[in-house]
């Protein structure tokens, strides 16, 4: 078995990260990243509602601290 090379690392700017949060929220949850963050902060969504909610929420603390 051949040994593979290391995986690629893609570094995102803050703006690109915002875009990624939005894309993941739309793809996994059917809403914008902004709407997801608002509803999560308002308690309308629980972080344990589904694996996809947890996954996108994991992106948010960093996301939120920049604002």
């Amino acid at each position: 078995m051949a040994t593979r090379t290391d995986n690629e690392i893609r570094e995102l700017s803050p703006e690109e990260w915002d875009q990624r949060v939005d894309e993941q929220a739309r793809k996994r949850l059917g809403m914008s990243g902004e709407e997801f963050e608002r509803r999560l902060n308002a308690g309308e969504i629980d972080i344990d509602d589904s694996p996809d909610v947890t996954r996108v929420a994991m992106m948010l603390p960093l996301h939120a601290t920049r604002k």
Partner: protein, 166 residues
């Protein structure tokens, strides 16, 4: 104890390198990180997408939050939170979570199992089963040793050992 480096940037590079080498044992999906700046904290590293692993219907998803800290030996990356999930045929089989600063009443490391069993008025899948801190290397080893994932590298054990020392 995580590896100590001379500068914050070196610590981040060391952490990223080890993590990527570890992940390359089970997936070729690339890793996404938020660009590192000294003033920003915490930082994020994650798999770009849920990744199917070789040897069966299993997949893996990974996200870590980390911070660079200085102690008397130098700079180290400390993991502040994580999500390590293994899926089976598209459904979550087991997930290890630690989100101490997130929107959850459960701030200690825990796991969820994809069990469709009702316990009183709760589903077992939503119960937070307590764990100690779990390292990504333990999840990679679990996938390979216990769940039959075929490693993509023949030096995977060395990568697991390397990551355990981070």
């Amino acid at each position: 104890m995580p590896h100590a480096s001379k500068t914050p940037a070196e610590a981040v590079e060391h952490y990223r390198g080890r993590t990527v080498r570890l992940l390359s044992c089970v997936t070729s999906v690339h890793v996404v990180v938020r660009a590192y700046h000294l003033s920003d904290a915490p930082h994020e590293l994650e798999l770009a997408d849920t990744a199917k692993m070789r040897g069966g219907p299993l997949s893996i998803d990974v996200a870590e939050e980390y911070e660079v800290r200085q102690d008397r030996d130098g700079w180290r990356v400390e993991i502040l939170g994580y999500l390590y999930a293994i899926g089976y045929e598209g459904r979550e089989l087991v997930a290890y979570h630690w989100h101490p600063r997130g929107k959850s009443s459960v701030t200690r490391p825990h796991m969820h199992v994809g069990a469709n069993i009702q316990v009183g008025d709760r589903w077992l899948g939503k119960v937070h089963l307590p764990t100690g801190a779990v390292g990504l290397e333990q999840v990679v080893a679990l996938a390979i040793v216990e769940l039959g994932v075929e490693p993509l590298r023949d030096d995977w054990e060395r990568m697991v050992d390397e990551a355990a020392g981070r």
